[in-house]
């Protein structure tokens, strides 16, 4: 499928995703523990909490340990003069190409977690939906946003 895009997300991205992963695996684990308690109280068969705990453990291992690293390793992007190119996905690898002329507007945004690590996400929209480049360093994100906005404006005048 030709050469892949060259730029990666920020090094700190896996760490942020891991923290996010810990938060929602924590919730899943709590549910599993709650189920175990219920089993004790209502005298339900032992395998129900066993299954729930197994799922919770697998979920946590995947989203805390594997997923952040794998996702970061795959994620690439490039901002060319005439298009933005994204590549992502762990098993199913997708390359998305958005012609610059189609970009309607571009934003950067930060949740509390990203802000804590000094990261930001770029989102940009076309007439057929939004795309994002997650977890870039704030200054990289700001520069990329300015660049996309400028290129989108110029390419529109071209046509």
């Amino acid at each position: 499928m030709g050469s892949v895009p060259s730029r990666r997300l920020d090094d700190r991205a896996p760490k942020v995703w891991r923290v996010g992963g810990i938060v929602h695996s924590g919730l899943i684990c709590l549910i599993a523990i709650g189920l175990t308690v219920l089993t004790k109280i209502f005298d339900l068969p032992w395998y129900l909490p066993a299954i729930a705990l197994a799922i919770a453990v697998m979920y946590s291992v995947f989203f805390v340990i594997l997923y952040p690293k794998l996702r970061w390793r795959r994620w690439r992007y490039d901002i060319h003069e005439h298009e933005i190119e994204l590549m992502y996905g762990i098993l199913f690898v997708t390359r998305t190409i958005i012609p610059m002329v189609r970009v309607q507007h571009v934003d950067t945004m930060q949740g509390p977690l990203l802000r804590h690590y000094g990261l930001a996400t770029i989102t940009f929209s076309t007439a057929a939906g939004n795309h994002e480049i997650p977890a870039l360093a704030v200054d990289t994100a700001d520069r990329a946003r300015e660049r996309i906005a400028e290129l989108a404006r110029v390419s529109r005048e071209d046509v």
């Binding site: 030709g2 996905g89 690898v93 998305t96 958005i98 007439a127």
Partner: protein
Amino acid sequence: MKMSEHKRLHPISIFFDVIKIMKDALLPFALILFSSLLQGKFGNLIWLAIAIPAVIGLSIGWGVLSWLRYHYTIEEGVLKVERGVLIRKKQYIAQSRIQTIDVVEGLFQRLFGVVKLQVQTAGGQKPEAIMSAVSRADAEYLRRRLLEKANEQLGENESAAEEDTNEMKSIVDVEELFLRLTEGRLLIKAITSGSIGVMASFLAAGYTQIGNFFGDDHILNLFTDWLFDVPVFLTILGVLIVSWVLSIGGTVLKYYGFSIQLSGEKLHISRGLLERRQVAIPVTRIQAIRIVESPLRQAFGWISVYVESAGYGKGKGESTLLFPLLKKSELHDFTANLIPQFQIDYTLNRLPRRAWRKYLVQHTTVALLIAAPFCYFAPLGLLALLLVPLSIAWGYLKYKESGWDWIESSRMLIMRSRLIERTIVYIPKKRIQYYELSQSPFQRQSDLATIVATVASNGQTGSSFKVKHIAGEDCSYLLKVLRNKANL
């Protein structure tokens, strides 16, 4: 301009409002009535006797107020609508942003000789502006004014002269290109639309004959006895036939008198028996063309033509239908006359042989998974294994008929694929909002990829079209032409 003064809706809209409010109030009232009758408490009924006239009075008041509040005008290329009783709203819709204007004549509207207008732009809440009752003359005038120079923003003084020439042009065009769906074709369309239901009932009827065919104590006969206990079978058959007849009726009501004409820069579509609906789609707003062949129609060489247009979406269903039923041989003339920017001839670049293995594996696995529980639990369930060859044949069709083409002269991407129906989609490159190549691990192994192109249609998310298992080298070629700046 005549139109600079504010206009109101037809007063009959008050009546429509009242009816609407009463309809909403009907259910709670019915509940109260029902429960008080059940409990034998008639105190509530007195309360109802006060409430009903009150609601009627209030809804009439509300209707009159909203009618008084509703003004519209066209000024300097902007449709301005002011409305609202408690919350006052001013909607300004730039003429250049208007995608389509629908004219709907429901039963009520026809009764009073008025029409309903729906104005739509790309994105946002749909439809942007609804005018529940305007006279035919006003509707025609609005439509002409708003769509005439949809792509230009002219000041008031320039527009007058411009209008005259446009009017001349459109009168000539109207006579030239007009196509109507004949009653015969409407019937074919209707009969073939519930095709799966039809096939199922024929299939079921066939099964009952198996018994006669094999003789009384043949083992297959035991199977059919088990499967088609007579009353059960008759019920199923009955339900199928009734639903088929209903679907025929529905289709006839919906598409009766379907006609399409090109006038000026717009395609005017009108259809419907009880509820007449007129849609105008600016030709310049067409994002893609879709040709759909369901298996039954494909066998007889019939096709349906759809249009993807910004401002409309699949959610709105039939409004995207450009023509319900055409002979395959007529398609060329149809597009040449109505949408000449779409060249419909193509040479299909097929999938590579190694793609066949993907379909074979996938279709065999799925069929086996479905058949497995039958084999295990049902008497004579091994017959379910017949699913396997059927599924493989279906996979073979998918493999054989999928493909793509790139037409350099008109810069058009063509994608053909089959799910149940065979779909051919024509997308001009400049209409592609974004495109994707994706690979599963299995595809990566054999250097195949899925290509997806998305156009602006279907609201916020766009409509995506894809072809699976295209050869790696073909993908590289497509990436190259699609990325080529000269082709923007």
